[in-house]
Each structure stands twice: as structure tokens, then as C-alpha cells.
């Protein structure tokens, strides 16, 4: 009996914590799904609102930063887009999609010569990707 109690005692708080985290995760997932659907319909302000809300819940969410970057870029807010992409690639440097978006945005800036200082970082390693 004691052994069973000793086994279940540490598991119980883990289960409670896990439930709380999964509830947060579910909320984030729902917000993200909704925001992605909005983005597909070109409702970028709505999508930005949802993604900003996700960042309030989980400030280190790389995919949300990436998605925010796309939304800002679509609205022509290039500085914010670059900042968001940069944050996403910092949080998850191995993700090829984040790097692709970041690289394309910087190339766009470089081509448009809007802010050449931002585009200086477009290096050969990045451009060799897909």
C-alpha cells in the first residue's frame, strides 16, 4: 500500500501541471488555427490580434513570431516583419520555413532598397537554401 502511495504521490502534481499546460496549449492552438484561417482570407489585422494574444500567453513561441512576421510583411510593415522573423529564427534557428521567410523578406528589402542596412545580412548560406 505504502509503495503504491509513494508511486502515485509524485505523479499526481505532474498530472495536474500537465493538464494546466495542455489547457494553455489548447487555447494557443485554437487561437493559432483561427489566426491562420483569417490570414488565408487576407484578414491580417484579425490574425495579428490573435497572434499577439498568443505571445502574451507564451512569449517564446517561435512559430507565432514567424506568422506575425508574415502578417506584418503582408501589411507593408517591413521593419516589424524583419524584427518578428529575426526573433523566430533566434528562437528556432533550425526551422527552414522561418529562415526561408526571413531570407525572402530581407531580399525584398534589398531589392527595393528601402533600408539597405537591414539587407546586409543576406549571406550566401541563406541564399543557397531552396
Amino acid at each position: 500500500m505504502t509503495i503504491r502511495l509513494l508511486f502515485w504521490l509524485p505523479i499526481f502534481p505532474l498530472v495536474v501541471l500537465g493538464c494546466a499546460t495542455s489547457q494553455n496549449q489548447a487555447t494557443i492552438e485554437q487561437y493559432n488555427q483561427f489566426a491562420v484561417r483569417s490570414a488565408k482570407l487576407q484578414l491580417w489585422n484579425e490574425a495579428i490580434f490573435r497572434w499577439q494574444h498568443i505571445l502574451e500567453i507564451e512569449p517564446q513561441n517561435a512559430k507565432t513570431y514567424n506568422n506575425l512576421g508574415v502578417a506584418y510583411e503582408a501589411l507593408g510593415k517591413i521593419d516589424e516583419a524583419i524584427e518578428a522573423y529575426k526573433r523566430a529564427t533566434e528562437l528556432d534557428p533550425d526551422n527552414k520555413f522561418y529562415r526561408f521567410n526571413y531570407r525572402k523578406c530581407r531580399l525584398h528589402v534589398q531589392r527595393s532598397r528601402m533600408k539597405p542596412s537591414d539587407a546586409d545580412g543576406v549571406d550566401a548560406t541563406d541564399s543557397s537554401e531552396s
Binding site: 508574415v70 526551422n95 525572402k104
Partner: protein, 280 residues
Amino acid sequence: MQPWNRVNRIPGQNGLFRLRMCPQSIHQRIRVLSPLWRWCGNLTASGLMVLISLSLYCGCGSSVTRVPIQIQVQSMIDANQYSSFAVLPFIEDERSDSRHIKVDEEIGRDLSSLMRIGLGRHQNFDVVSTNETLRMLTGETLNVDLLSNVDELVRIGQYFEVDAVIGGSYTFFAVSEPRRYYGERYSRELQRYVTDYQDYLQKTYVLSLRIVIAGVDTEEIIRDDRYDRRAVEAHTTGSFLISEIMPSGGVLKNLAKQAISEFTRQIAPHHEIEERFLVR
């Protein structure tokens, strides 16, 4: 007669038979033939459902969504500062070698007209018309050296009362070289496909279009770019001889259209559709 094989003749179709097997015999065969099928046979219905759901989830549940976004591409020059242009007739930059193709002298005027049409489509730009350009340039002699002479270009720009002057030169030449195309043909003697080749002449037309923009107020060359375009034709000896005699102004115009189109895209602010990845 075997219990699991019954051959029925299909009515109305001579020579066609339908092989019918009883379900029990199919099961027996599957069990004998393949261990995988045997394993599948032992799966329960719920197991199958789980498998199907998993495969559907893996197939359809991609975590990334492509979205098209509209991005504004700025002009490569300051579109606010330079909004009115005079396009000078393009000048032929003659080469001394044999590859140079002599084309009609009027082509230079046609190319500048194409440029005027391309630039005139953009609402931000005001372009001096072809008639007015030709009228005002009456008596002027244009040569390739003019494109390097900023003072002269600025003087012409002031005369036209525009922000910038666009001038250009073109070089058009063709390179012909023998090529060999490898393919396969069926050999009746060997009763199989064999590797074969065919010699032909590849004629490559090359247009090198140089476009210069000179700012009138700034009195400097804003841009000096070269656009190279090429087109390739495959010829037999006969068609090659004909192509040498025939004028190739059509090819030149097509290549120039491509180059001028690229130039106007770079000069005019415009929107482009690009794809980005949203992560779910």
C-alpha cells in the same frame, strides 16, 4: 471440379471467361501467398480504423500553410524625384567582327517607342511622346559616345524640360555552332532500340541592350545597366542558309521587348505576389 474455381462464359462475348472464386478459397490463397495479407486478416476492425486515421492525419495534416502576400516593390530610382522622362532613340553599337548582324536603322526608334509605351503605362511617369522627341531631335546626331557624355545628356534633358533622360545602345549578333543531338531509334536489323545521333546547327541570337538614365537636376548618370537576352534556334543546313538571308528583326524585337519589360519593372514601383509559410 475444384470448389474454388468456377469458370463461366460471359454471355454475348466469345472467348471471354469470368473466373469466379468463393470467398473461402480467396482467404485460403491470401493466407498462402502473403504473410502481410495474413497479418492484415488478423487485424480487428478497430485496428484498421486507427491505421486509416493515422495515415489520413499524416497525409493531410501538414503543419505549414502557404499564403500569397502582396508586396510592394520600390523603384530602383527615386520615383518622386524622377517622374518625367525623355527617351532617346537607341543607337546601334556596331561590332567589327563577323558575328554582328546588320539590322534596319529604324529598329533603334522602334526600341525607344517600346520603352515609351512601357514607361507610359505607369501613372507615376510622364514620358515625352515619340513625335515630339523626333521633332525636337531633328538635326541632332546621336552616337554611342553620347551615352557617356553626361553634359550632353543633361543639355538634351533641359531642352526637353524633363527630370531624366533615358538613352541606350544595342548590340545584336549571332553565334552558330554545330551540335549533336543524341536520341534513340528502332533498328530493324537488331530488333531493338539503338542510340543514334543527329547533327544540327545551333544559332544563338544575342541582344545586349545598354540603358542609361541621366538625371537632369543632379547632372549625373543615375543608372547604367546592361540587359543581355538570347534566343536559340536549331537549324539544318538548308534552314540555316535561309535564316542567314532572311532579316532577323523579329528576333531582335522580341528580345528587346523582354529586356525593356525587365527595365520598366525595375524602374516603376509595382506590386508582386510572393508566398510565405505560416506555421500551424
